[in-house]
């Protein structure tokens, strides 16, 4: 089943509320996905600095990682969120940091990279996952979240969404892809690396590859309609934008709402029911095989 939520703010006055609203939406989607949850928040960024979200094996290990990385690199800042550490580092040192992480803490996983994007995901009920990471206190311009009911692969943190598709880009998915094994083999030949047997990671890898070959995210999603076989509703986040795509059959649910203050996505209307001004929002279902995209 799985649940997706997304909130893209147009009104800067709501930015301090982003985390609180997203946490509420995510908790509502527990019914559709009690196995694991994750979310990407587009928070404030600094020019010349890259943020790396690194997932460690435990809160204690995350704390040790944070101390070690601050000792090894001058000019880094770390923020701890339970098992995750968000490391801010000058752009020119990012490759050295990645090599250092691979060598010194091979068990740690880089889950996201970008100027603004931070990604958090763990196994457990969505409300407790959101609480562990302190989602309700986060602010930003947009966020996408996912609650997972595992079908294609095991209940692990690696199998939790969102998946990063590139710098400041990520993807969440409701549905199941039928041709992910074949596509994974083809993408591996193109040099892509996969951590899991998960179908969504393949969709994320596919978009990464298409964009590497020069397509825009919108065009990559469009050609994906031919190459990705299966049922899906995708919600994608970029540094300044937020997009939605449903497959041509569109049996996976999707409801959207738009007001002067925000664009919101939910797998069900219940997700949107508590948003401010929802009673006057334009509420609609996105059309199948149609790319929707908002930017600010």
């Amino acid at each position: 089943m799985c649940g997706i939520v997304g909130l893209f703010l147009k009104d800067p006055a709501l930015e301090p509320e982003l985390g609180r609203l997203t946490a509420g939406m995510l908790a509502t989607m527990s019914d559709r996905g009690p196995d694991s949850a994750g979310f990407a928040v587009y928070a404030a960024g600094q020019p010349g600095q890259t943020k790396l979200t690194v997932r460690s094996t435990s809160p204690l290990a995350a704390e040790e990682l944070s101390v070690a990385v601050e000792a090894a690199f001058s000019g880094v800042q770390t923020v701890l969120h339970d098992t995750h550490v968000v490391i801010s580092i000058p752009d020119q040192e990012i490759e050295a940091l990645i090599k250092w992480l691979e060598r010194e803490v091979p068990e740690a996983e880089i889950v996201g990279r970008g100027t603004r994007m931070e990604i958090f995901k763990e196994v457990g009920l969505p409300s407790s996952v959101a609480q562990r990471f302190g989602l309700a206190t986060m602010s930003g311009t947009h966020a996408i979240g996912h609650t997972r009911m595992a079908t294609e692969s095991a209940v692990t943190t690696d199998g939790a969404h969102p998946y990063s598709t590139g710098t400041d880009q990520c993807l969440v998915h409701n549905g199941s892809l039928s041709n992910h094994n074949n596509l994974r083999r083809e993408l591996k030949r193109e040099g892509l690396h996969f951590e899991t047997e998960n179908d969504t990671e393949v969709a994320a890898g596919y978009l990464t590859w298409r964009m590497r070959e020069g397509l825009s995210l919108g065009d990559a999603l469009k050609v994906g309609l031919d190459d990705l076989d299966g049922f899906y509703t995708f919600v994608v986040g970029t540094e300044n934008g937020f997009g939605v795509l449903r497959d041509g059959i569109a049996c996976k649910p999707a409801v959207m709402a738009e007001t002067d203050q925000y664009v919101a996505f939910g797998s069900e209307y219940r997700v949107l029911a508590t948003l401010p001004g929802i009673e006057h929002a334009r509420v609609w279902e996105p059309e199948p095989a149609t790319v929707y995209f908002w930017e600010r």
């Binding site: 049996c251 649910p253 219940r270 029911a273 279902e285």
Partner: protein, 229 residues
């Protein structure tokens, strides 16, 4: 007149109370507030009462309805009035996919648009949509009338049996074995009757609709197709 606030009363409590009603009940008109998209509100009714719901409902609202009138002042999620047996369900907003799915009788009226698969496998229900219907509507429809004031999406009436489909606007494409058919007087009378029941008496001219139905080419195995399997 019982009034139930779903922001306070648990949904299961409401549905249990509705299921306890007998045909002789004096509580014949219920008002439900703050549905907030909750699922299966007023599903499984079995008595001739009226339920008025103020706000948007979630999945399967008024599913399996028998005898009751359910008025939804708002939009409805997936499968509103699915498998309805009799009675009347009226949605003043839009309906999500599979509205009136597998319905065997009664009348479903949707004032806004209905999403994909409206009337999928309908088996005798009448459905009136003031707006448009999405793709794969009336898929494998078996009996009943689907009347659409607006347009129909892709593959209308795919693999249809004997349901009658009436569309006033455009049809994006017809599904397998669904064809446009001649509008005879009996069909205009059928539209008139359904519209009158739905509360549109005299508002719409039945002759503005086109009729679609089964070409009946899929009813029997055709030996020429043997090698296609």
């Amino acid at each position: 007149m019982p009034e139930v606030d779903l922001g306070v009363t648990p949904l299961r409590e409401l549905n249990a109370a509705l299921h306890r009603l007998t045909p002789e009940t004096n509580e014949r008109h219920w008002v439900i507030d703050h549905p907030a998209g909750r699922h299966a509100i007023a599903a499984g009714l079995n008595v001739p009462v009226t339920i008025e719901i103020n706000g948007p409902v979630g999945y399967y609202c008024a599913g399996m309805n028998k005898y009751a009138t359910v008025l939804i002042n708002g939009s409805a999620g997936v499968g509103v009035a699915e498998n309805m047996m009799s009675g009347f369900v009226h949605v003043t907003g839009d309906a999500s996919q599979s509205a009136g799915a597998t319905g065997r009788g009664g009348l479903l009226r949707i004032d806004g648009n209905a999403s994909s698969r409206c009337g999928i496998s309908m088996k005798g229900i009448d459905i009136v949509v003031k707006g448009s219907v999405g793709h794969m509507s009336a898929f494998m429809a078996q009996a009943g009338n689907l009347v659409v004031f607006g347009d129909a999406g892709d593959s209308l009436g795919d693999s249809i049996y004997e349901a009658r489909l009436f569309v006033r606007g455009s049809v994006k494409s017809l599904g397998a074995d669904c064809v446009e058919k001649e509008m005879r007087d009996e069909h205009k009378r059928a539209i008139h009757q359904v519209l009158t029941q739905a509360g549109f008496d005299g508002e719409v001219d039945p002759s503005e609709f086109k009729r679609y139905g089964s070409a009946r080419r899929l009813y029997h195995f055709h030996v020429d197709h043997a090698e296609e399997y």
